[in-house]
Amino acid sequence: MSAGADDEAVFLARVREYLGTRMPDARELSLTHVQRIAVGWSHETWLFDLTYREGGEAREQGLCLRRDPGNALLRHMSDLEEQFRVLKCLAATALPAPKVFWYESDPAILDAPFLVMEKVPGECPNPWGRAGRRFYAEAAARGTLPASFTAALATLHTLDWEAAGLGFLGVPEPGAGFARREIAKWRELIDASEHPPEPILADLMCWLESNIPAPARVTLVHGAYRTGNLLIHNDRISAVLDWELQVLGDPMYDVAYVLSDLNREGTPLLSNLVERDAFMRDYEAQTGFTIDENACRYYDALYAMRSVAFWMSASGLYRSGRSNDLRLARTTWSVPVVLERAARDLGY
């Protein structure tokens, strides 16, 4: 919902009061350059600069606050506490990610759980908008950002997740364990959506169960690695964002997402940014992994199932009255579009 100016002022005053409790030596706290983004789809996100005095000196810290609105898409699958823990673990790795400061589960503070992290310098152009497409096309021509895109994914896949403390995400059973767990997760979301039965989806799920690839290794997997989920500063990735779907599993799951035509529009460039051959060459060189194209095709079909689950869940939020956001109502017609794509994936 769109918050009124008064509501927003009250909310920001409560944020300032909270920050004061977390920074007892800070005085004269003030929030400036406040910007609210990502209204409705996922967690509420607020960006602002905190100015304050400490030890007689004026200081400033850019902050990002994410709050659980209670009815966000996938909310029961992506809780802020897990995001906080993941980002805390990533701080000790070479992966560019925001530094997190605090997580609060007590709804008495800001009515809902929230986390506070640093505001990393950079921008995140929407790859589906005209301006975003132009931004990525120009960056592709310069070549620095595409290389950074691939390098950040290689870093993500080669970081020592055990040493970083990410084992709490759950190590999949060897062999089919990873894909089975993903299928089960998306099936649960589909069932919870109470969407009418879809025979193409039944076919897709049976096919997925029957054709599970055996991963060569287990790594940290982002789950939605694409432009739009990456912060860019000085033509480089300054932070990997949107830690809502991460798992431990087959890195080919991320590679398949990069290779997918889901994430590009009217361009052969992967994620609107990277040439396919360059991505494959550089990724293999930097990780030492060989890209398994059969596994990627399998995961592309798994993404179709995931997309169906997303849209069934999203449209269900509107149908059930848990959200009044008409963008969610619109996704009712995204379900058949993705099912049609799934049918093509399966060869019909």
């Binding site: 919902m1 769109s2 209204v39 409705g40 009418p196 039965p197 879809e198 025979p199 193409i200 989806l201 039944a202 076919d203 049976c206 096919w207 169960e209 029957s210 956001d325 008409l326 963008r327 109502a329 619109r330 009712t332 017609w333 995204s334 379900v335 058949p336 579009v337 099912l339 049609e340 049918a343 399966l346 019909y348």
Partner: protein, 136 residues
């Protein structure tokens, strides 16, 4: 003016008059989305009766064609799913039949499995093509 014409006019009003006049970005998006939702729903409702008849005819033909093959196999799960499909002739029963078909794969053999699945997929393709007339 027919109901369909009225709905089309509503879509146009929302898109061209109401949404552009709203300053608040969130509410502006909502107005545009309302025009999209009403537009799609209008198209879906206009096609609904024809689509339902076509889907029903396709499912009847599928049930008839599957009968001979299913009766040739002593596979209780597949037979039960087929019986349900023949009685109910609706998507939930077809989903259950597809699941039973995959489960019976080893018993009925790859060739029969492929033939039955291909026949079902023909039916599913026709159905999704119809739905794409309003969903896209």
């Amino acid at each position: 003016m027919t109901n369909s014409d009225l709905l089309d006019r509503l879509v146009t009003t929302l898109k061209r008059d109401i949404a552009p006049a709203i300053d608040d970005e969130y509410l502006k998006t909502q107005a545009f989305m309302a025009s999209v939702v009403v537009g799609k729903l209008t198209r879906q409702l206009a096609l609904e009766s024809g689509h339902r008849a076509a889907a029903s005819a396709d499912l009847d033909a599928l049930v008839d064609e599957l009968r001979a093959t299913i009766e040739g196999y002593d596979e209780p799960g597949l037979r039960a799913a087929y019986t349900r499909l023949a009685e109910q002739r609706e998507p939930a029963a077809l989903c259950a039949f597809i699941e039973a078909l995959y489960a019976a794969r080893a018993v009925i053999g790859e060739s029969t499995f492929d033939r039955l699945r291909r026949r079902i997929r023909t039916c599913l393709r026709a159905d999704i093509d119809r739905r794409m007339e309003y969903a896209k």
